[in-house]
């Protein structure tokens, strides 16, 4: 009977160790960002999406999706927001954004830089978040916030995307 050697190749163990390291890093970024005080309480810069974009070209879709799931659950638990309404918004928006960035990178990674990928992620994140908020509190008037949140996403998406571009360009130089 052959040993299941293929399950314990060096590459797989290495990838697992990297996953653990980057998960801790992403949780840290997520938790610190939740504690960051902004003038408006529900606005976030989306710094943890930078981690997603930095990892995407090197580790692939399922890796970054796994990192997202762990960081949103453990990160929210660390700051005491697990399963709060805010968590549902962060989870739904973040999941949609992660999937959107994966799709954008796979479909259009050849023509878009991380600026474009980040814009898609931030915009989808806030779009889904406002719709979820409208559903949770059962108030259609919540949609009045949509233009502000989408406009804000264009700003944070640009900042995060250009930062990601700079980091990767610096790494490659």
């Amino acid at each position: 009977m052959p040993l299941p050697d293929d399950r314990f190749t060096f590459e797989r163990i290495e990838k697992g160790a990297h996953f653990a390291l980057f998960a801790v890093f992403a949780i840290g970024v997520h938790a610190l960002e939740s504690l960051l005080t902004l003038p408006v309480p529900w606005l976030r810069l989306g710094l943890s999406h930078i981690v997603t974009m930095l990892l995407l070209p090197f580790y692939g879709s399922s890796f970054v999706l796994g990192i997202f799931l762990i960081r949103v659950i453990v990160g929210s638990a660390l700051v005491g927001k697990l399963f709060s309404p805010g968590f549902i918004l962060a989870f739904g928006g973040g999941l949609a954004a992660t999937l959107a960035m994966i799709a954008a990178f796979r479909l259009a990674g050849k023509v878009l830089s991380f600026w474009g990928i980040s814009l898609v992620g931030a915009w989808v994140h806030n779009l889904i978040q406002v719709f979820l908020a409208a559903l949770i509190i059962q108030q259609a008037s919540t949609l009045l916030l949509l233009p502000y949140f989408l406009g804000f996403a264009l700003v944070t998406g640009s900042v995060n995307g250009i930062l990601t571009n700079r980091i990767l360009a610096w790494k490659d130089s």
Partner: protein
């Protein structure tokens, strides 16, 4: 790991094009709420916090409401409610004009009268999140 053309790190014309499209969609989202606004079916009138009347919007009528400083006249016409006469000095409620949608309110503070449109979709509660 070396970048072998798997990703780009300088802004491209497609990034700019995408930004333009998203700006347009963001501006268009101003209209998202308009689509969900629903016509109200009834009005509630209260004086000093006490409900004094509940009227359907589909029948035209004129209602005289007694408040602490006089009589405020509310008129229902063509499915819309409006305050057409008020005893207060500024007549802000009168200047508001007719209100048609669920959740809209007309308030006369000096006469302590609130007219609220009810019915249609939506719930009355608000929420707080952290």
């Amino acid at each position: 790991m070396v970048n072998r053309g798997r990703y780009g790190t300088s802004p491209t014309r497609w990034d700019i094009l995408l930004l333009m499209v998203l700006i347009l969609l963001t501006v268009a989202s101003v209209f998202a709420f308009r689509l969900t606004k629903s016509q109200g079916t009834d009005i509630w009138i209260s004086v000093d916090g006490r409900p004094v009347g509940f009227y359907p919007l589909n029948e035209d009528r004129t209602i005289k409401v007694n408040g602490p400083i006089g009589i405020t006249v509310v008129r229902i016409h063509n499915g819309q409610a409006a305050i057409i006469e008020a005893p207060c000095p500024h007549k802000l409620c009168q200047k508001m004009g007719p209100i048609p949608s669920h959740g809209d309110v007309m308030i006369c503070i000096p006469n302590r009268i609130i007219v609220e449109i009810k019915g249609g979709k939506g719930r009355e509660t608000d929420a707080i999140t952290r």
